[in-house]
């Protein structure tokens, strides 16, 4: 394939991935990696390198908007980054020692999990009850502005959330994705943060987590400019357009369609991984 054709296909695919990703809340990487590996025959290590760069771009791009609104809890973000940066580096270091087929299988499983998380009905567990010693010591409890005034919230099970973040970081470094679905489990379900706070804070953290593993990938030659260029430009423009559309679009139907697509891609990745095609 010629460089020009490859660039155009990846640019278009990445734009769509960013667009649909921002409308459904799933990161662009989960579409980019199957596109590159299954459709264009790119080695999964290059796909991982390109994907992590797009994760940084979208995270920084959207965090910029959220941080100004004052919803992001910077202390929770910083505190949990201890776990995610260490584990992201570990993930990035071990990724080449693992058979590419196994990486594809793990990726497929994470895709299935992300699809399920996307369509599931969200239950807000947050409250402002008194919390444990750790949450107080690290000053994690906070408040955020809503239409009805400032709402306070308490942070629960800090250790559980921290461990879950460690796993999310390993997966992020291993697969070159933001692992947003796992971060939601840690923040919404375990630490019981309000949705808006957990989504924006996880977005805020993703850039730093991804940067830690991206440097390891760069040194290893996994970030190829010919792939990274159309992927980052495409995903970021797609995500920007998507966030503008988000206010006017009803995303429920879209989420279900997208979940079906992601499930199909997941099964394809798992099949190719197991049969040694990747």
């Amino acid at each position: 394939m010629s460089v020009l054709l490859f660039t155009i296909i990846v640019l278009a695919g990445a734009f769509l991935a960013g667009l649909v990703g921002s409308l459904t809340g799933l990161g662009g990487g989960v579409i980019i990696i199957p596109l590159l590996t299954l459709v264009l025959g790119v080695d999964i290590h290059y796909a991982i390198g390109a994907s992590i760069v797009s994760v940084i771009a979208t995270s920084s791009g959207s965090a910029a908007a959220y941080v100004k609104e004052g919803i992001t809890n910077i202390r929770i973000g910083m505190f949990l980054e201890i776990a995610t940066t260490i584990s992201a580096v570990i993930g990035a270091v071990i990724t080449v020692y693992i058979n590419p087929g196994y990486i594809a299988v793990i990726f497929g499983c994470i895709l299935l999990f992300s699809a399920a998380m996307m369509v599931r009905k969200k239950v807000d567990h947050s409250d402002d009850r008194a919390t444990g010693v750790l949450a107080n010591f690290f000053k994690l409890n906070g408040s955020y502005p809503t239409a009805d005034g400032t709402v306070k919230y308490g942070v629960h099970n800090v250790i559980g959330g921290f461990i879950m973040m460690f796993i999310a970081g390993i997966i992020s470094g291993l697969l070159g994705i933001g692992s947003g679905a796992l971060k939601v489990v840690a923040m919404d379900n375990i630490m019981r943060l309000p949705f808006k706070v957990s989504t924006t804070t996880s977005n805020f953290m993703m850039g730093v987590t991804a940067a830690a593993s991206a440097i390891v990938y760069l040194h290893r030659g996994q970030i190829d400019p010919g792939i990274a260029m159309p992927v980052t430009l495409g995903v970021l423009t797609g995500a920007t357009v998507g966030s503008k559309l988000l206010v006017k679009t009803n995303t429920d139907k879209l989420k279900i369609i997208f979940a079906v697509v992601v499930t199909f891609l997941a099964l394809q990745m798992i099949y190719n991984g197991l049969s040694g095609k990747l």
Partner: protein, 131 residues
């Protein structure tokens, strides 16, 4: 909860600065990647590429030093990699900035946490991790 109130205003200022910093970093790096992409395409667009096998030695610009050397030659690929590097360092600058923010607030616990996160990222800069 008294403490949260006291911190709120200082936190707010830092958040506005952080948001601007992230936005400027992303826009600047995207512009550089775009310009590098145009130069790269104008030179290589007809060439045939094959990414089917991962070959670590094939990517010329896999170290910061090599990227800067290629940059002085105005090579399209090196310019793209420089933009990518800038993108990677945008959230890192964000960490550095938050450390100063917490220093101003005299929140030394979070100064330490920030420094720790920064150290982990600096360790990832070491070539030895690649293996």
């Amino acid at each position: 909860m008294k403490q949260t109130g006291k911190h709120y205003f200082a936190d707010k200022d830092i958040q506005v600065i952080l948001g601007t910093l992230l936005r400027v970093g992303v826009i600047a790096s995207m512009l550089i990647v775009f310009i590098g992409g145009l130069i790269y395409l104008s030179g290589y667009s007809r060439e045939i590429i094959d990414y089917s096998v991962f070959n670590p030695s094939k990517t010329k610009y896999s170290s910061i030093l090599a990227i800067f050397q290629g940059l002085s030659a105005l090579d399209g690929k090196a310019i793209i990699q420089f933009g990518t590097l800038l993108l990677i360092f945008t959230p890192v600058t964000r960490v550095v900035f938050s450390i100063f923010g917490f220093l101003i607030e005299r929140d030394y616990l979070y100064v330490l946490i920030g420094l720790f996160v920064l150290c982990v990222i600096l360790i990832s800069l070491s070539n030895k991790l690649v293996g």
